[in-house]
Amino acid sequence: MRRALIGAGLLIMGYGVCGALVDGEVDVAGVALFGIALLVLHDAVFLPLVVGAGRLLRRLVRPGRQPAARIAAITGLAVVVVALPLVLGFGRIADNPTVLPRSYGRNLLLILIVTTGTVLACRKGIERFRARGPR
């Protein structure tokens, strides 16, 4: 089973790499550059910042409030990541208002306020869910 999965996976990877090399419309160097850049940014910049923020949270927030604070922070961060390209709005087209039609900056702020407020208000419930028996 393990060998079959590993072998099949290697074959599929090989198909992807060969396909990209043969496809005249794929700039393989550009693709590799983008993938490696993402990998480095994620592992060497983004994650250290997240880990640092987590340590700070553990130091600054009272232990009883940490779970809710962490959940609010994780949710907020994920929403920010998804919203960022929309908020920056570089994809807007002058003659086509149907692309990115909303005020994403304001909407993001609204979502962050509502989710953070809701999570903090449900602090007690989160603590109960957390402490539920082993599962």
Partner: protein
């Protein structure tokens, strides 16, 4: 030395697992030092068991998070595997619709199928953002395994993990940039790159599951088997099952020993993070799904498109001005040419309007995941084919736009005999807006928006091979 049939294979195996010289110990600093990610002792007396993985933990304790566990990683991994599986299959379907394989005819019904599969593709990809984020965080300590490379096999395993992480990040980020129409940061053509990297990610994921299978099995076994999970033997099993390739790294403290105080704390932390990921995925989904599920539109505050808006209540991807067809489309001398099988007819807009008109309700479903329904009126494609005495059941048609260039200026219709496939002249009872393809556009069931060719100039008919 006796020659043995598999001595060559054995030599390769020996080479692959031959230990490499370890790097100098003085390089082992920062995140690389022993126990760097071990949980800090908690105020309140709950100390995570030191050295739960049996190696690399310092008695002093690090400042790592107590929330990491093999079980958390495995559960997130399963969810992520399902999400990537959905994205891969729906993406493959979209690819096959746009690049039909002769051996695999795809049906035109249900008419709204592509709208669902592509909506699901984008929604699942977006929901996978927090999943991937927390999953990668949960295995972050493994990046700093010491020694970095034990032997050639270990190097290959680590390289394939790097390929997996790079490909996964690539897919999610390039997809997000694409739905935001932000192509600047991508030094490549999105569509083809997204397609081939999907294969790379799928393969790397399959191999990764193969490598980690025993660890995953062990971590997910027996939901409430507190006793089992707490016994030293099962801990050893985790380690030996992980094999030579990877052992749970320094940060993987407490594989959920629910019987112990530290285990209870780890289980609580795991539930907390699963709750956070679910909440994040839920918020992201509600905030964007309204681009295709119309009743969610008012609360989908981050949806890149809004169904029901735009000229004639329909969003536009490419305007007539951007496509460079304004003048040609508004030219009163416009003629639609139907040609093939040795015959050609030219039709003015008045000729087209004089032919039998049919009305159908069909969605425009974009590859970017948004969709919006319109009521289209026009001439059936099969009726146009009959004008040149072509049998629609025996032919295929290539629809060409007035556009002089661009990737999507032509599209093929494999089954022109479909009665809902129209050359539409009207939308919602009015003549087509210029940005929706005036004077005439293709509209057909179960078809990506880029193939609903606008501003038709020519329909080239060919006998189906």
């Amino acid at each position: 030395m006796v020659r043995h049939p598999d001595s060559r294979a054995r030599r390769v195996l020996t080479w692959l697992t031959r230990p490499l010289p370890p790097p100098p110990e003085r390089l082992r600093r920062g995140p690389l030092r022993a126990g760097a990610f071990d949980p800090a002792p908690r105020a309140g007396g709950l100390v995570a068991p030191p050295g739960a993985d049996g190696s690399g933990s310092s008695p002093s304790g690090g400042s790592g998070s107590p929330l990491r566990s093999t079980r958390l990683t495995s559960q997130l991994g399963v969810a992520l595997g399902v999400a990537f599986g959905i994205c891969f299959l729906t993406g493959l379907y979209s690819h096959l619709l746009q690049h039909p394989a002769g051996w695999l005819p795809l049906p035109e019904r249900p008419a709204g199928l592509y709208r669902v599969t592509q909506g699901l593709h984008v929604a699942t990809g977006l929901a996978a953002v927090p999943l991937l984020g927390v999953k990668l965080w949960s295995v972050y300590p493994r990046l700093f395994t010491w020694p970095p490379v034990r032997d050639p096999a270990h190097a290959a395993a680590r390289l394939s993990v790097a390929a997996l992480v790079g490909a996964a990040l690539f897919q999610l980020v390039s997809g997000m940039l694409n739905i935001a129409h932000w192509y600047g940061p991508m030094p490549f053509f999105f569509t083809n790159a997204h397609y081939w990297v999907a294969w790379l990610a799928a393969g790397a994921l399959t191999s990764h599951v193969g490598v980690q299978l025993p660890v995953i099995r062990e971590a997910l076994r027996g939901r409430a088997a507190t006793g089992r999970a707490g016994t030293p033997e099962s801990g050893d099993a985790t380690r030996s099952a992980a094999g030579r390739s990877e052992t749970p790294a320094g940060g993987d403290a407490a594989p959920d020993r629910s019987g112990t105080p530290g285990g209870r704390e780890a289980a609580a932390g795991r539930r907390e993070l699963l709750l956070a990921v679910s909440l994040a995925a839920g918020v992201i989904t509600v905030a964007t799904l309204g681009q295709t599920v119309r009743f969610l539109s008012p609360v989908s505050l981050l949806a890149p498109r809004r169904p029901g808006t735009g000229p004639q209540g329909l969003p536009v991807n490419r305007t007539a001005a951007a496509a460079g067809v304004r003048a040609a489309a508004l030219d009163p001398g416009y003629r639609l040419t139907v040609t093939g099988l040795g015959r050609t007819v030219e039709l003015s807009l008045a000729d087209l309007a004089a032919l039998p008109q049919h009305t159908t309700v069909l969605p425009i479903a974009c590859v970017e995941g948004w969709s919006s329904v319109g009521t289209w009126t026009g001439v059936r494609l099969m009726d146009l084919l009959r004008l040149i005495d072509a049998d629609p059941g025996e032919c295929t048609a290539e629809v060409r736009s007035l556009q002089a260039g661009g990737r999507h200026r032509t599209s093929k219709v494999g089954n022109p005999a479909d009665e809902r496939t129209l050359v539409a002249l009207r939308l919602g009872g009015e003549p087509l807006a210029l940005d929706h393809g005036y004077p005439a556009r293709l509209i057909a069931p179960n078809r990506p928006g880029v193939q609903q060719t606008k501003w038709i100039r020519t329909i080239a008919v060919r006998r189906a091979s």
